[in-house]
């Protein structure tokens, strides 16, 4: 991803199609595709109960942190990580060099099922991301003077 990623409505619809199929097959609650910097690229499923932005940041950190651990045992990185809770669990797998897929699931399914379907889903997501046209710019035009003349964030007395 050397250019600025710009996802069109069609791109996101295609991604949603892939992720929606995955959620149905794996019977998971939520899946999020993020870049390794922690930015959300796409998400699908029940996002009402959690802050996806924070999950993305922490998941990217968690994935990156274990890379050193993997190196100690002669691996480049771990392709997948699983965090097991009492009722909710998280499974993360590598999509490509720039992208990670996170899946949140509960008691309705098993880690085996999620792992099985996530492999083919990751391959499909990777193909789709590779197929995005590489352009130099993001195509979103606006006049910078409109937004740079006023403070973006206001110090609000408590």
């Amino acid at each position: 991803m050397n250019c600025i990623p710009a996802l069109t409505i069609e791109n996101v619809a295609s991604l949603d199609g892939i992720l929606g199929d995955f959620l149905k097959q794996a019977e998971a609650e939520l899946t999020v595709v993020i870049d390794r910097g922690g930015n959300v690229i796409s998400q699908f499923g029940d996002v009402s109960v959690m802050d996806v932005t924070i999950i993305a940041a922490l998941a990217a950190g968690s994935f990156a942190a274990t890379r050193e651990l993997a190196r100690r045992i002669g691996e480049v990185e771990f392709n997948a990580l699983y965090h097991q809770g009492n009722g909710s669990h998280i499974f993360m797998n590598s999509v490509d060099d720039d992208t990670i897929m996170i899946t949140v699931f509960g008691r309705r399914t098993t880690v085996g099922l999620v792992r099985f379907y996530s492999a083919t889903t990751a391959a499909a997501v990777s193909e789709l991301l590779k197929s995005l046209p590489v352009t130099g710019g993001h195509g979103f035009t606006f006049d910078a003077a409109d937004v740079t003349s006023v403070p973006l964030f206001v110090d609000r007395p408590v």
């Binding site: 930015n39 690229i41 950190g61 130099g136 993001h138 979103f140 403070p151 973006l152 110090d155």
Partner: protein, 226 residues
């Protein structure tokens, strides 16, 4: 690296607060979290040790202006300042769009400030980013303390490049200029983003208003460490 999503109508940016250990990076984020409108912020997430030293990073998501129906989202991160955590700093810097370098104004911290700034340049270079290409501002923090270096000395140490960055005198514990520096780097990011609509990102960073000429070396000597 900014991401624009035409479906959810969002533009995401990543800003990293960088600097030596105990310089006030987390205090910056805590102040912003406390004072920004709750509707425009998420939770402040801190991965810290029991002694409140940042172990991995702090993270604060903020929503800002809406441009043509697109919400701009800024994700603020801090890095752990301690020297041993360089691998973590490299991870947090991944896909960074803008940097706030927080320097500690106390005399005895000058060496650490310079070392941390060099470390920032090296870690950016690993991502093929030059410090001259990325929007960044400098904070001279802890201006309320007694044993502090004058601004011209800090400028000489940290801001004596051909293209100088905007700098702020900051007291992060009281919030002085915390928002001013955040606004400055955010606006530089948006300016740069607006220039990247159709061209490869080789555009020079925006000129900073009122940018002075490079600083001549002041005749000040750093006192020996106590």
């Amino acid at each position: 690296m900014s991401i624009i999503n035409y479906a959810s109508r969002e533009i995401q940016f990543k800003i990293v607060y960088y600097g030596p250990a105990l310089c006030g990076k987390t205090t910056n984020l805590a102040y912003i979290h406390e004072r920004v409108c709750p509707a425009n912020r998420g939770d402040l997430v801190s991965l810290a040790t029991a002694a409140d030293r940042t172990l991995f990073f702090d993270f604060l998501p903020l929503n800002a202006v809406v441009i043509k129906g697109f919400v701009t989202k800024f994700q603020l991160y801090t890095v752990p300042g301690q020297v041993i955590y360089n691998a973590t700093r490299q991870l947090v810097l991944r896909s960074v769009d803008g940097v706030v370098f927080v320097a500690d104004s106390q005399w005895e911290k000058m060496e650490e400030n310079v070392e941390s700034f060099r470390n920032l340049e090296e870690n950016l270079a690993q991502q093929n980013i030059s410090i001259d290409e990325i929007p960044y501002v400098l904070q001279y923090n802890k201006r309320d303390l007694g044993n502090i270096a004058p601004i011209n000395y800090l400028e000489f140490l940290l801001n004596n490049r051909r293209k100088r960055a905007q700098s702020f005198e900051v007291t992060s514990s009281t919030g002085q200029n915390v928002f001013a520096s955040l606004n400055a780097v955010s606006q530089m990011l948006l300016y740069k983003f607006s220039k990247q609509s159709n061209v490869t990102p080789t555009v020079a960073p925006p000129a900073v208003a009122g940018q002075p000429e490079p600083v001549a070396a002041p005749k000040i000597v750093v006192p020996a460490r106590v």
